[in-house]
Symmetry: C2
Subunit: 256 residues, 2 copies
């Protein structure tokens, strides 16, 4: 029996995206890899799960690596649920998600399919990490981050990720020798100002495309946005307990 | 010009669901109501947003109330973005979401379209409340909670919801005279054990339905699950800063 760690790999850009292919290749150097990933892009799916329609899952072979792969019709969170409860014979030692094509720093974490997969794994008691690169291009340079991904994953396997947490890792768009290091950060207090691009279809009916401008008004040097802007890899421990414990007392004062 | 508060109403069960119809009717007693809600059920959509396809939005009239209504093709979070940035002439004074058909207590908050709409509003700086009833039935007794909804919404307008928070309100499945009161709580540490119901389609191909069992191992008397089980309405302040600030130090010790 293998003593290598069992690693579940998923993403939200779909099983053929270059980001996940790099992640799989790095994970093959660390452990036994099983991939359960969406059969189509699932970006910005947040923590959606599929309860009102059926799920399909097929064994698939994409490259010559030793990993086992399954392509699934659901969301990233569905893939983790299906992987852990139906496909894997035992609980994985770690779940890694990504590498996402585009940032999941600051408020983006809440819209992120990549991070919802990692959080789903952490809800199931599995150490989990989401990796994202600040480059939307399909041919982005994921190779530059192989060593960092390996180092962080091996550390997580050794040290253990705190219970209730998943790690949100973002890589700046830099070459390997330009990266200054790794910073453990908090989520920056940044947001999007939405702009709806209103158009008319050939029949004259109006429709919208959602676009927006990212605004960071957070001046702290301990945030993920600061780290990324200054050439560091950002690491944010993210938790699924969404209670604002500090504000319970304030609401109690309402005397409802 | 009206001095009444401007109220944005949305949900995840769709604009014709009985839950939102009750909520609209209560809000008409408090302020000027604009409804921007999904044209079809969007349960368990988490914080999904629509970036890879187009959005449609139509003015619609469903009943004889004074509210304005718009039916939207997107997710609950899309409805809030569209409502705030395209449809409303000024920032609403409050956004209310629901009443959801089914619980959004404890870990359900993370999968909830109802709460993602409320959180989206709070990200946009708007006080926001999500309401849910622990009864999945289409003909659930929403009327029992009219007074509580009114009281909580008026308090929120008066006191102001803390910045960065939305309120997650769940109602137990009880008659009005059976409700013991309102408890301000934390999210219970509960989870789902997934079960996949594997079936074969008429062509013999396998598919799955996601089902599960809800497990609450949290013995605290300050959790939402405790409150609901003991006949109280639960109120949890939920935040969109997902950083686990307490664990930043632990990860720093990894010396990455």
């Amino acid at each position: 029996m293998s003593k290598k760690p069992l690693i579940l790999v998923t993403n939200d850009d779909g099983i053929t995206a270059p980001g996940i292919r790099t992640l799989i290749s790095v994970m093959n150097e660390i452990g036994d890899v099983v991939v359960v990933a969406p059969d189509s892009p699932q970006s910005a799916m947040g923590h959606a799960i599929t309860i009102n329609s059926t799920l399909h899952c097929n064994s698939i072979k994409i490259d010559n690596g030793p990993q086992k792969e399954y392509s699934c019709s659901g969301t990233p969170a569905d893939c983790v649920k299906l992987g852990v409860n139906e496909i894997l014979k035992r609980k994985p030692d770690i779940c890694v998600s990504g590498i996402n094509h585009g940032s999941n720093s600051s408020i983006n974490v809440i819209y992120s399919g990549t991070m919802s997969a990692a959080l789903e794994a952490s809800i199931e008691g599995i150490p989990a990490i989401g990796f994202s690169l600040l480059d939307y291009r399909w041919d982005a340079n994921f190779e530059a981050f192989r060593n960092s991904i390996k180092k962080i994953t091996i550390s997580a396997l050794k040290e253990g990720i705190p219970k209730g947490n998943a790690l949100n890792i973002n890589f700046p768009k830099l070459k390997e020798n330009e990266i200054k290091g790794i910073k453990i950060c908090r989520q920056a207090n940044a947001y999007w100002i939405e702009k709806f691009d209103k158009r008319k279809n050939p029949q004259g009916k109006e429709y919208y495309w959602l676009t927006g401008e990212f605004i960071n008004e957070d001046n702290g040097t301990d945030s993920d946005e600061w780290a990324l802007k200054n050439g560091y890899i950002s690491v944010v421990p993210v938790k699924f307990d969404m209670t604002d414990h500090e504000n319970i007392k304030k609401i109690k004062n309402w005397k409802l």
